[in-house]
């Protein structure tokens, strides 16, 4: 059993209570940002497609305990409009002499035919294939949709070596996947999907979740280390450490409101990044902190948060440990150390 029935049941109840308040915006959200590929920094175009949302979250399982993306998705997606907007934006934004990385996110799985119909997948890939300036395309998907057929479909429409498939693994520990995240798949599923993707010539990026519910800060630091070591053995070289930010309408949010959860410390993220980069310099380590410095996101005492977030941003972009070595001193650092050790026991 990959799910814990009673846990998943309570997640589902929370989900059902919150779904009616779902928004109906059908606009594509997009923006531009800086992004690092190998040794250079390029422009990145990020698209968020208004699909119906993640099938896992919509299923009877209730979806992941930490995830509230679903509440931003419309109930009836308009793929015609989506296609028109994508063509339009690409046309306007892509400049002749620049290189680009394209990120196509759906708040779910791009490769899930129930979420993005196969003809829409094809059309988008074909459109992207028209631009030689695009060096990299990042797609997100859960492992169960990554089969030979869907990968072959990519090969048929675009140079697959440009594709990077990002998988939200969250943790390599099945117990955490089952009893904390309610992820619905196990490490072995991720392993299989990775092998397939690599066989077809695309790249894999793994998302790890820092401090999922019920896992202490200490255990989560440990878990990130364990997971990174395991991921690296599969030949994956890009890992994104996603510190929890508390989405409304989720199981985690309830825990937080009952005072039974504290979002991670920024000190922990600095510590994790330093440790991993020092031991595995070849890994591209991404640490974009969502809602950093706020009550619902990773935060410290409030005094030092901004400076640390700056460092993490710089580190993600430059992949240079030096970025993390400006010694920021703050009185909350001792408190953090104590917290990490005590939370474990008490």
């Amino acid at each position: 059993m990959k799910i814990n029935t009673s846990y998943s049941e309570s997640i589902k109840q929370i989900r059902e209570k919150n779904l009616p308040s779902r928004e109906h915006s059908r606009r594509i959200i997009h923006w531009e940002e800086k992004h690092r590929i190998k040794s250079e920094v390029v422009k990145a175009l990020v698209f968020i497609l208004p699909t119906r949302g993640c099938s896992w979250a919509l299923s009877g399982s209730g979806g992941c305990s930490v995830c509230g993306y679903l509440y931003d998705n419309p109930q009836k997606p308009d793929f015609e409009m989506i296609m028109i907007s994508i063509k339009d934006i690409l046309n306007k934004k892509i400049q002749q002499e620049e290189e680009y990385s394209i990120k196509i996110f759906t708040s779910g799985s791009f490769l899930d035919r129930n979420e993005v119909p196969i003809n829409v997948q094809e059309a988008i890939l074909k459109e992207l294939a028209k631009y030689h300036q695009i060096r990299e395309i990042v797609l997100e998907s859960r492992p169960e949709y990554i089969n030979d057929k869907i990968l072959q479909n990519i090969v048929n429409n675009i140079d697959i070596s440009k594709i990077e498939i990002a998988i939200g693994l969250e943790s390599a520990n099945n117990k955490i996947l089952k009893n904390s995240v309610n992820k619905g798949f196990f490490w072995e599923d991720f392993e299989q999907a990775t092998e397939r993707i690599i066989k077809f010539g695309a790249k894999v990026k793994a998302y790890l979740l820092f401090k999922p519910p019920f896992v202490t800060e200490y255990d989560s630091i440990n878990d990130i280390f364990l997971s990174v070591s395991k991921i690296k053995k599969l030949g994956i070289d890009t890992v994104s450490i996603n510190a929890i930010s508390i989405h409304r309408g989720t199981y985690l949010s309830l825990l937080f409101e009952k005072n039974q959860y504290r979002p991670p410390w920024l000190w922990s993220l600095v510590y994790i990044c330093k440790e991993i980069k020092a031991k595995f310099p070849e890994i591209r380590l991404i640490c974009d902190v969502v809602a950093g410095g706020t009550r619902r996101g990773a935060h410290n005492c409030g005094e030092c948060d901004k400076a640390i977030l700056e460092q993490l941003k710089e580190f993600t972009l430059t992949q240079d440990l030096k970025a993390l070595n400006h010694n920021i001193q703050c009185s909350c650092k001792e408190e953090w150390k104590g917290y990490v050790l005590h939370e474990k026991i008490s």
Partner: protein
């Protein structure tokens, strides 16, 4: 071999010591990190910061604290803390038994050095898997989630009693997390051994000031002159830490004094649900506590409230009187007397006056007289047993105020005892006051004995009552007394009653002849001789007997205090668990017991733990040898 062994037991509470060094280590306090000063702590956690290099190694440890000079002797200085694959207490409901099963499986597969600490969520205490773990040498259980039951007296009592009944007394239980020091005594009594200092971290972080029985805000609290409060600014953490340390030494001390139960009765008023839980212990689970509470003790027993009525020792005392007390055959006059504040009763002014009045009844009056002192909370104390614990050691705040429950318990026991007397015996009621009146009323209704009241109108020590007593005795005396029958001496009657109470019915007659010789006068111990051979010693402090091995042999088929031993020779000065083949389940801690090999008493000993627990322990000392039988060659 287990790391702990009990040094004494008091209900589910005990002092645990490290097996080899015998340093007392529980009830104790665990520090979440290495403390600056080790005093007052039994152990501390050493949890290194996780790094990529140490993820696979189990480097989290619990380090035990010993005095330097003992460190060499100890079995192991630290326990390894292995992974605990489940979640904090607030979600323990959603831990599937499958996950727990996996944890236990992997736990059992560890090498022994990694199997010393076992984590047990309260939701899993009924699981059969726990039995498997308790078969191993695992020494410490971390019981998680207990505080969620603090307001549920039914579940709390069931859970703790069944857990303690199930596992051996040399397994310690640690309840992690912030717990008010005001609850320590009750939890220790319930069988918990370790707490941690997270309460000190928690309270000081949130600005609370602790005292031993409550929590104040840091802005307004009683002034404290401890060195930490005198610092500028005051060090709140250190102060709170000091309070929880002292809360524990207070319990340690009361365990040594054997007065923990009194402390518990005082402390439970800090929490209503604990008072209710204690009542459950005394009613539903009385047997579990009784069979582990010593009846041989020197401790003053302060009865503080309603809870005192049903203390395990008191229930045990009443049961033994009911089952084992047999009045002397010649008794024809039953004299019911009130108790006195001073103990033993005969040392009090009132009882001395009464005694004088009795003597006026006629020469030889004591040979047909049986005195029963009617009292709360013990109900009935035969004169013969006034010198034993708890009769000699109890203390009640106000005498003469009887609740209806006390009246009914007392009258019932009194009626049961009266059935043992000859049908033609006569009762003289020399008691006055409301409660006594009700008791006598019930006695009259349920018995056919003639009852004379000698203290009806005035107090028992008034001249009027005393002369009524003498006159009444004189009237009956000649009727009932026959000078041809040889009566046992008062001393013999007393020793027989003590022996029956202590070792089991019928043992007194076997041990003690009608007349005996003694050496040593109170307050020294009395040595008892029969035909020049010393057969027993009467301990003047606790009022109980120690027997010579030969005397013990003579009652070994009748007595319940038997430990079957695996060898003809006892080596050293202790009996260890592996040598104990079977112990009688009625043996209480502190009991004088007889070590028997193939029906031969090979030694007398003092029980450290109850018979029930002797049968459960696999290592450690279960009894201390007192006297060995000289081997005849």
């Amino acid at each position: 071999m287990r790391f702990f062994q009990p040094k004494s037991q008091l209900g589910f509470a005990r002092i645990l010591a490290e097996t080899r060094s015998k340093v007392p280590i529980s009830p104790g306090l665990i520090s979440l990190e290495k403390p600056l000063k080790k005093e007052g702590y039994s152990a501390y956690f050493e949890i290194p910061f996780p790094t990529l290099d140490n993820i696979d190694k189990s480097s989290k440890k619990l380090i035990w604290i010993f005095p330097k000079e003992k460190e060499e002797k100890v079995l192991s200085k630290s326990f390894v803390l292995t992974e605990q694959p489940f979640y904090p207490h607030f979600v323990s409901d959603s831990i599937s038994s499958q996950d727990y099963f996996e944890y236990v499986e992997s736990f059992l597969s560890f090498p022994e050095a990694f199997r010393q600490i076992f984590t047990l969520p309260i939701t899993m205490t009924d699981s059969k898997l726990v039995n498997q773990v308790s078969q191993t040498d695992c020494s410490l259980y971390i019981l998680t989630g207990l505080s969620s039951l603090f307001n549920n007296q039914r579940r709390l009592s069931e859970l703790l009693v069944s857990l303690r009944e199930k596992i051996s007394p040399d397994i310690a239980i640690y309840v992690p997390g912030p717990i008010s020091p005001a609850f320590y005594s009750f939890l220790v009594y319930s069988g918990i051994d370790f707490f941690d200092n997270s309460q000190a971290y928690y309270t000081s972080k949130n600005g609370y000031f602790l005292t031993i029985d409550r929590t104040y805000s840091n802005e307004e609290h009683p002034t404290c002159y401890c060195p930490y409060c005198m610092e500028k600014p005051p060090n709140l953490f250190k102060h709170n830490e000091l309070i929880i340390k002292n809360a524990l030494t207070r319990i340690h001390h009361s365990l040594k004094e054997e007065t923990l139960r009194t402390l518990v009765e005082k402390d439970i008023h800090n929490k209503v649900s604990f008072a209710a839980t204690l009542r459950k212990y005394d009613s539903v689970f009385s047997q579990s506590f009784r069979s582990r509470s010593p009846i041989i003790s020197n401790a003053t027993m302060k009865c503080v409230g309603e809870e005192s009525l049903s203390r395990p020792v008191i229930t045990e005392y009443r049961n033994r009187i009911r089952e084992r007390f047999v009045p002397d055959l010649l008794s024809r006059i039953i004299l019911l007397l009130p108790c006195s504040a001073r103990k033993p009763y005969s040392f009090s002014r009132s009882h001395m006056q009464i005694r004088k009045a009795i003597k006026k009844g006629g020469r030889g009056i004591f040979s047909i007289l049986s005195e029963l002192i009617v009292t709360s909370p013990l109900s009935v104390v035969p004169r013969e047993l006034e010198g034993i614990f708890p009769a000699k050691f109890y203390d009640i705040p106000v005498a003469g105020q009887w609740t209806s429950k006390e009246i009914s318990i007392t009258a019932t026991l009194l009626n049961d005892i009266l059935k043992r007397y000859s049908k033609d015996a006569i009762i003289i009621n020399h008691m006055s006051g409301e409660g006594y009146k009700d008791i006598i009323q019930i006695v009259r209704e349920q018995n056919s004995f003639t009852v004379y009241d000698t203290s009806q109108e005035a107090s028992p020590t008034s001249d009027k009552s005393l002369s009524r007593l003498s006159e009444t005795l004189q009237e009956i005396f000649s009727d009932k007394f026959s000078s041809d029958v040889q009566a046992p001496s008062t001393l013999t009657k007393k020793l027989r009653a003590i022996s029956d109470f202590q070792f089991g019915s019928d043992t007194g007659r076997i041990l003690f002849a009608d007349s005996l010789k003694t050496k040593g006068k109170y307050p020294r111990n009395q040595q008892i001789f029969s035909e020049k051979e010393q057969i027993a010693i009467l301990n003047s402090k606790n009022g109980f007997l120690s027997l010579s091995p030969d005397s013990a042999q003579s009652i070994s088929t009748k007595s319940k205090n038997i430990l079957e031993f695996g060898d003809i020779q006892v080596k050293g000065s202790n009996i260890f668990a592996p040598g104990c083949i079977k112990a009688d389940n009625s043996i209480l801690p502190n009991d004088e017991i007889f070590v028997v090999f193939e029906k031969q008493v090979v030694a007398t000993a003092k029980a450290i733990v109850s018979g029930k627990d002797m049968n459960k322990m696999t290592s450690g000392i279960v009894a201390e040898i007192k006297k060995k039988t000289r081997v005849k060659k």
